[in-house]
Symmetry: C2
Subunit: 301 residues, 2 copies
């Protein structure tokens, strides 16, 4: 067996196409959507991400504004910027870049982002709200995993899912997105004593530990669908995931590549959230039908 | 093998003893703690719970005030009562009774409870905050499970835990309390296809599905520690749990009874939260050493 590819670029292309349509509809009534990014860092990967977001916005017709604060900005200054953007009726999405200045925690400042404009689900109130069945945005990377599986026809209800990793931005929200879709979910992490025992029974295995090559063939049951959320850069700036594709591919039914898998979808989701808003769709709902309909990947139960 | 008893009353007695001491210390400096309960229901089990809370408060020296709203009170009236109690410096804990009036959701109103007075963790912001590593109270029933296991010396780090049930007040918060203590956690529920497969490998099994007798011997691995969070009333008003003790006891290393297990601890925790406040202790930290020190229950890994 050799694994099928869970292509994220095709998913992103479908979302982008629908976003461009919607932006066109809004333009006819004079409305333009706007994403406001607050940043207090000159970290190169953050800078490069902000440039990518700006390019994507230009491409689909969403205005992107960037508010640069001092790298030593205190929490109160960051909160004020987020609250002011949240209160501005011309702003539809508010994002805060990390890393934050020394001594400032995301916790401390993200509550200043209004829940209905919190397009990357950074406010703990967003998390607590959608987890409890209310309307709120999930972090875009976690939502991208679900989007990728839905697009490729992987059945989530009743699936046995193992998520490796318990970060507040990926692993923890992701486990709830799977629970909300009626999967049976296991969360494993760096303190799990026997990782293979926690992963080998999974019909869907998600690697989100931030540890290059952590998941190898021995961790994967025959015919499992494997999603790689890792974005690890080596000393030469090369990107790799958490999955050792060489040993995993012969066992898995399907595998998402890095790059070109989950990461490719994240930006498209951030902008979709900015365009459609919270009222239109809850993150826990199944994704809308995609325009290109690939063959379903078989998932063992 | 016959299961040891995970006695909740002894745990509650230890917490109560320390709460009485702390209330005495506060009294010497003229301070009195106060729990304010907002209720808009005449549901008999809610009424009986409010009476039990009032009695417990009287016993340990914490003032309990009850604000009765009309059974048809709109969301805005309930929010105003919660916000007003939250703003009152003489109030240290704010609780909202359920069921709520028809058409009012807990989501809708619980955000009006200040996080630092949200002693039963009802505000989604509390959940999102402590889940992400910040300071907030967990729902008392979920916290009681951890308290019970800690008291009986059950090791959580590295344990394989299965929680059966995914309610926002027990199953979901509980899975995060276990994750924060380095357990590997699986969540099973009504849509899990093979429940026994998800539970039999667990070293700690928590039944929180609200389904009488759901967990039987076939679901339990030899030597597992089993915690029963079920509180099911039959037509005669008799209380039973989610665990079929007759078939489970011969296999389990230890089992919590219903009544006298988790339920016995919940009230004591609500008042401890009211007395110590949020600054003193995060719910994710291990519980303080208990006064009575029972023999540890062996847990297989």
């Amino acid at each position: 067996m050799s694994a099928g590819i869970l292509d994220g670029r095709a998913v992103a292309a479908g979302i982008t196409e629908r976003s461009i349509e919607r932006v066109g509809e809004l333009a006819r009534t004079g409305g333009q959507r706007r994403l406001h990014i607050v940043t207090a860092t000159t970290d190169p990967s953050s800078e490069s991400y902000v440039r990518a977001l700006t390019r994507y916005g230009t491409r689909i017709g969403v205005r992107v504004t960037v508010e640069r604060l001092d790298e030593g900005a205190p929490a109160e200054t960051i909160r004020r910027a987020l609250a002011s953007a949240s209160a501005d009726p011309s702003v539809h999405g508010v994002m805060l870049q990390t890393p934050l200045p020394a001594g400032v925690s995301l916790q401390q400042v993200a509550t200043a982002i209004a829940v209905d404009k919190d397009v990357d689900g950074a406010n703990p109130l967003s998390l607590g709200t959608w987890m409890s069945g209310g309307a709120g945005f999930a972090p875009a990377t976690a939502a991208a995993v679900i989007e990728l599986l839905d697009h490729h026809g992987v059945e989530l209800a009743g699936a046995r899912v193992t998520v490796v990793g318990r970060s507040p931005v990926v692993g923890k929200p992701l486990l709830h997105l799977f629970l909300n879709r009626d999967a049976t979910v296991t969360v494993a992490h760096s303190k799990t004593k026997n990782l293979a025992a926690a992963t080998r029974g999974a019909s869907i295995l998600v690697a989100a530990a931030g540890s290059p090559g952590l998941v190898t063939g021995e961790h994967v049951g025959d015919g499992a669908v494997v999603v790689d959320v890792g974005t690890n850069y080596d000393a030469f700036g090369r990107l790799s995931g958490d999955v050792d594709a060489g040993s995993v591919a012969p066992r898995a039914a399907a595998l998402s590549p890095v790059p070109g898998g989950v990461g490719a979808i994240t930006t498209a989701l951030l902008f979709r959230n900015t365009i459609t808003g919270l009222a239109a769709r809850r993150p826990t709902e199944p994704a809308a039908q995609t325009t290109t309909e690939p063959a379903p990947v078989p998932v063992p139960h």
